[in-house]
Amino acid sequence: MERKKITFKINGEEKTLEVEPNKTLLWLIREELKLKGTKRACERGDCGLCTVLLNGEPVKSCLVLAVEVDGSEIITVEGLARNGELTPLQRAFIEHGALQCGFCTPAFLIVGHWLINRNPRPSREEVIEALNGVLCRCTGYRSIIDAILSVTKTEK
């Protein structure tokens, strides 16, 4: 198995390293870079808990090979807050109690962040549709949807 050299940006920081081609992006994030906010669960693209932004679009990182991200830009949940200050969406999750066990929270923050950037005034249905790919087994969807909608209302 031939290791491949890849260069990419993660949360604004440029990295170059060598990876084995049978490693996933999820592995790269959690095990190589030790960013544990991105969660590993089903590893078959069903639960969406490993969702990160790849070149600005949400992807399930368990279904992407690490070698594929050469030349790309990745944002994980650790990259949302700036200088230790939470984003309005992250604050809204706290205010709405939009988490129970918290295991799905990073993925919902990533998808929520992407949705708001792309569509600053989504309808409730649009929020629900965007969240389809992420599962919360505590079934706390209502507060998650409310948290996202609260941000879209306050920001004009």
Binding site: M1, K4, N22, E43, G45, D46, L65, E68
Partner: protein, 286 residues
């Protein structure tokens, strides 16, 4: 953990076909990865080589030409398809079917050509492409050939593709004038599920007479066009009778199995209910 493998990402189609010719069945093509990486992890596929085709620009072609139709390249994602206004407008059955696949995040990566090459009986894009008379352009180092999608599937997850061949693009002809298509899909939950039964239909008029095309997912070893049911609309008679006749023939022609998503009996009933519902909608519009 995925099995050991080597990875390459050719920059041209020629380079890719050269690699395929060299590695043959030891290689698998990687586009969106949403099926392949799951198969690797579950050891259903054990290729020595993965060939990533996303860096080949010509495979990203998504082009519509008035009168000729649509070309969908091997790396075109479902997201690309849903964002295309021509597909939404003129190929509504395809747009609707794609909209039911997985979820928004998955559709950012998953490709249409990957969906047909996986050749799952539950593939949602295939019934839609079947009623649109789609053709498959297959290429290899030796040359290229074009076949109707109907002849592409040979069994559960099996296709006519030889190990050194690949699907370069799917060609979807211009649909009949003023045609209207829909895809109805029964799932166990509201999103992110395979179909229990899916049915695609296209309705149009020819010489004033209503014509229908019908195809199904999850009721046979392959996605299935049921032309015998379509013939119900070739004979004269009241439209209600044609619909009932088509429903009856469709139920006779499908051969569903029982699995985790539903029993064979339930599926047969769904074929009856969904086909009738779909045909009524189509004849009302066209």
């Amino acid at each position: 953990m995925l099995p050991k493998l080597d990875y390459s990402s050719p920059r041209t189609l020629g380079e890719l076909l050269e690699l395929l010719d060299r590695y043959k069945d030891q290689a698998k093509i990687l586009a969106g990865g949403t099926d392949l990486i799951v198969s690797l992890r579950e050891k259903l596929e054990k290729p020595k080589y993965i060939i990533d085709i996303k860096k080949i620009p010509e495979l990203g072609k998504l082009e519509y030409r008035e009168g000729e139709g649509l070309t969908i390249g091997a790396t075109v994602t479902f997201k690309n398809i849903l964002e295309n206004p021509v597909i939404k407008d003129r190929y509504s059955v395809l747009w609707e079917a794609v909209k039911t696949i997985g979820d928004m995040v998955l559709r950012n990566r998953a490709t249409l050509v990957g969906n047909i090459c996986t050749a799952s009986p539950a593939g949602d894009s295939s019934p839609a492409l079947l009623v649109l008379n789609a053709r498959v352009k297959i290429v290899s180092k030796e040359g290229s050939r074009e076949i109707p999608l109907e002849n592409f599937f040979t069994g559960v997850k099996k296709t006519v593709l030889k190990p050194w061949e690949m699907v370069k693009e799917v060609l979807v002809p211009e649909p009949p004038k003023k045609s209207f298509g829909r895809y109805l899909k029964m799932m166990r939950v509201r999103s992110e599920d395979l179909s229990v039964v899916g049915v695609a239909g296209l309705g149009y008029r020819e010489g004033g007479e209503i014509k229908i095309r019908l195809a199904f997912s999850s009721v046979a070893p392959t996605p299935l066009r049921v032309k015998e049911a379509e013939e119900a609309f070739a004979k004269p008679g009241p439209i209600e009778e044609k619909i009932e006749r088509a429903v009856q023939v469709a139920v006779e022609k499908v051969s569903p199995i029982s699995d985790v998503r539903g029993s064979a009996e339930y599926r047969l009933n769904l074929v009856r209910v969904l086909t009738r519902r779909l045909l009524k909608q189509l004849v009302e519009v066209v």
